[in-house]
Amino acid sequence: MSNYATTSEERDDRFGSGLAGAIVLHLALIGGLAAVAIFEHVHTPHWGENTASIGAIQASMVSAIPLPPKAAPVKDSVLASEDVTPTPQPPPKEATQPPPKPTDVLIKAKTPTKVPKVAPIETPVPPKHPQPAPVTPKAASGDAATQLPQSVSQLKNGTAALTVQNRVFGNRYAYYLRIVANAVNQSYATYSGQADPNASMNKSVTLLFDIQRDGSIANLHVENHSGSSTLDTAALRAIQHLDNFPQLPEGDHITIEYKFDYRQQ
């Protein structure tokens, strides 16, 4: 017991001397830091007091801030896109050779020199229904790269982009295309609710249709399937349920490409 007491006293002693040492060390450290800071404060030049031109800051007025023009990101063109290029379709699986039929099994005949018959490798039959082809950005042809959408609108479920194939018409009658885009977007806002959100997420469908001279719609069809049938149907219905557009200001018909991107915001 007494032994224990002495050791504890010894420990206290050692602790006291250590504490004093630490305090001294810390004070020295703080003092050193302060000395360095004061030295720095005194000897480094203050803001704006450059010895060459004391107290003179030159500022010149500009009429506008020359910010770079902000352009809407172009989705279709790989050259100007901010988005990551979609990953290409995985390479097709190599057709595996069908297992040999029992009749094909070669029975060793007396003439082993004969070349054994090999069953013909079946070429995969092309699917009957058109398969959804992923939208591949066409960067190779300059034509596709210059074809920017006439109007891109942010909607509740993603974006809708209108492209008119006749560029001259698009420039000359921009107001007409605004009316078309407005009508389609309003209709799509109603019908996009019918698209299945899970199946349609981040998919896009491209429709193609003609506007006739009298403003009626013809030749409506899906150009690029999205892979989600509900999204395809919703986009088709949005256009089918439109009454009419105003009659064309010029020409016999125009062809409109409409792309709906489905995205939850």
Binding site: A34, A37, I38, H41, S153, Q154, L155, K156, N171, R172, Y173, A174, Y175, R178, I179, N182, A183, N185, Q186, Y188, A189, T190, G215, S216, D243, N244, F245, P246, Q247, P249, Q265
Partner: protein, 445 residues
């Protein structure tokens, strides 16, 4: 030393403050505004037209106010208030500076402008519509109008110019500024058929029969008006030619014959007749010949209206279950469907696109029941309805405009009945006539 400490404190405080403040700022920053359909109305500015040769001041005022009123009433545009438009009055394409119009506060997407002149008692109006957002090719169209100078022709030119703008910018449906409304007006002891412009201007009497003439219905080609008139042999269908300015033949029959309705082809007329005892729906040609009955129900069948899109269906009011209800059927009398589930429904009118019916309905009909007679619109496919009038007294006799965007109806009690119009969503209600006018019918074009 002090200064450094102070600096440290400040920076520490700043970090602390930031760590506290950032979450709340973050929460406030992300609010999202959304328009109902993602669609906006076209914002259009209407300049005061520039006076040219002669002294067109009086006509110019009529023209400017009529054009502004027409475009406002169209229900298609977001009209820039006249207080916000630039002071300049450009008269020609060369005189307009579109930047002035597309900038705030006007912020117009489209500008209508032009000039008015009088030369040799002719009123000459040049009208232009420009796309203010298209600096390269601003002009949408230009029109010149040349009419004998009068206040009425100034108004008609404004109507035509407005219709032209609506046709170019609207949903492919032409405007209604040149359409007419036919109605029944109390004159002394009887009622005559009257006609007015769609905005209530230019009211004038059509028939002079000295009888009680009600429920006028104009033919799809605007050449004839069918109506029901009370003579010595009861209510009979009468036919008035607007081209000849007199009554033309319509075969009369026994019983009460009321509520005529034109088929969209103009070759058939449906009406209610009690010639066989019970009021039923009959169809005849426009001279009243080859009449045949298409309903056979006990109880009155009245107020037919054709589907103007297909001409293959008729909506009407039937009292087979005691209180009058709204029904539709095919034009041969088959495929009967009941649309209203109760109350007291009267006077249906079919929308031009065939999708909707508007009718007057007292949903809580009966002694001591709350509610009154109001105008409703029902989508036929889904049988969903909305109420368009509220708390303005009894409303009856709705009639669609040919563009499907407006409804005209009668409002008020007895002798105080007046004619009002509104957009088909129930907004922009305005009175077109004073008291004593009833049973409006909007022309087909």
């Amino acid at each position: 030393m002090k200064s450094i400490r102070a600096g440290k404190n400040v920076s520490l405080f700043a970090v602390l403050f930031a760590s506290i403040a950032v979450p709340s700022m973050h929460a406030q920053d992300w609010f999202h505004l959304e328009t109902s359909g993602g669609a906006t109305r076209i914002r259009i500015a209407v300049a005061n037209f520039k006076p040219q040769a002669g002294d067109p001041a009086a006509y110019k005022h009529t023209f400017d106010t009529t054009l502004f009123a027409d475009l406002t009433a169209a229900g298609l545009f977001d009209i820039v208030s006249k207080d916000m438009i630039p002071q300049s009055t450009p008269g020609t394409q060369a005189e307009i500076s579109l930047a002035q119009w597309s900038a705030a506060p006007a912020s117009a997407a489209m500008v209508a402008f032009g000039n008015v002149g009088v030369a040799n008692d002719r009123l000459v109006v040049n009208g232009f519509l420009d796309d203010a957002k298209n600096a390269q090719y601003p002009q949408v169209f230009a029109k010149q109008y040349n009419e004998a100078a009068s206040d009425d022709s100034a108004r008609q030119i404004a109507h035509r110019f407005a219709d032209e703008i609506i046709a170019r910018l609207g949903g492919g449906v032409s405007g209604i500024a040149e359409t007419k409304i036919y109605y029944s007006k109390r004159t002394g002891t009887g009622k005559e058929i009257w006609e007015m412009d769609y905005d209530g201007a230019n009211q004038h009497e059509i028939t002079h029969l000295g009888a009680i003439s009600i429920s006028p219905r104009v033919s799809p080609d605007n050449s004839r008006v069918a109506f029901s008139s009370l003579g010595k042999d009861g209510f009979q269908i009468k036919m008035y030619s607007l081209l000849l300015g007199r009554l033309v033949n319509f075969t009369s029959a026994g019983g009460t014959n009321v509520s005529p309705a034109w088929a969209p082809s103009g070759q058939q007329l449906a009406f209610s007749s009690s010639r066989t005892g019970d009021p039923e729906i009959w169809i005849s040609d426009p001279e009243g010949r080859v009449a045949h009955k298409i309903t056979s129900f006990i109880g009155p069948d009245v107020s037919p209206t054709w589907n103007p899109k297909t001409g293959g269906q008729i909506a009407w009011i039937s009292g087979r279950t005691h209180l009058p209800q709204l029904y539709i059927m095919d034009a041969d009398g088959s495929g009967v469907q009941r649309l209203t589930d109760g109350g007291y429904a009267t006077s249906p009118s079919w929308s031009p696109n065939g999708q909707f019916l508007t009718f007057a309905w007292d949903r809580k009909y009966g002694p001591g029941a709350p509610g009154g007679q109001d105008i409703y619109v029902m989508e036929i496919a889904s049988k969903k309805w909305i109420q368009l009038t509220h708390d303005i007294g009894p409303c009856d006799f709705p009639s669609w405009s040919p563009d499907g965007r407006h409804i005209v109806f009668a409002n008020g009690n007895g002798a105080h009945t007046r004619i009002m119009s509104m957009l088909a969503d129930g907004t922009q209600k305005q009175a077109l006539t004073g008291a004593g006018s009833d049973m409006p019918n909007w022309s087909w074009k």
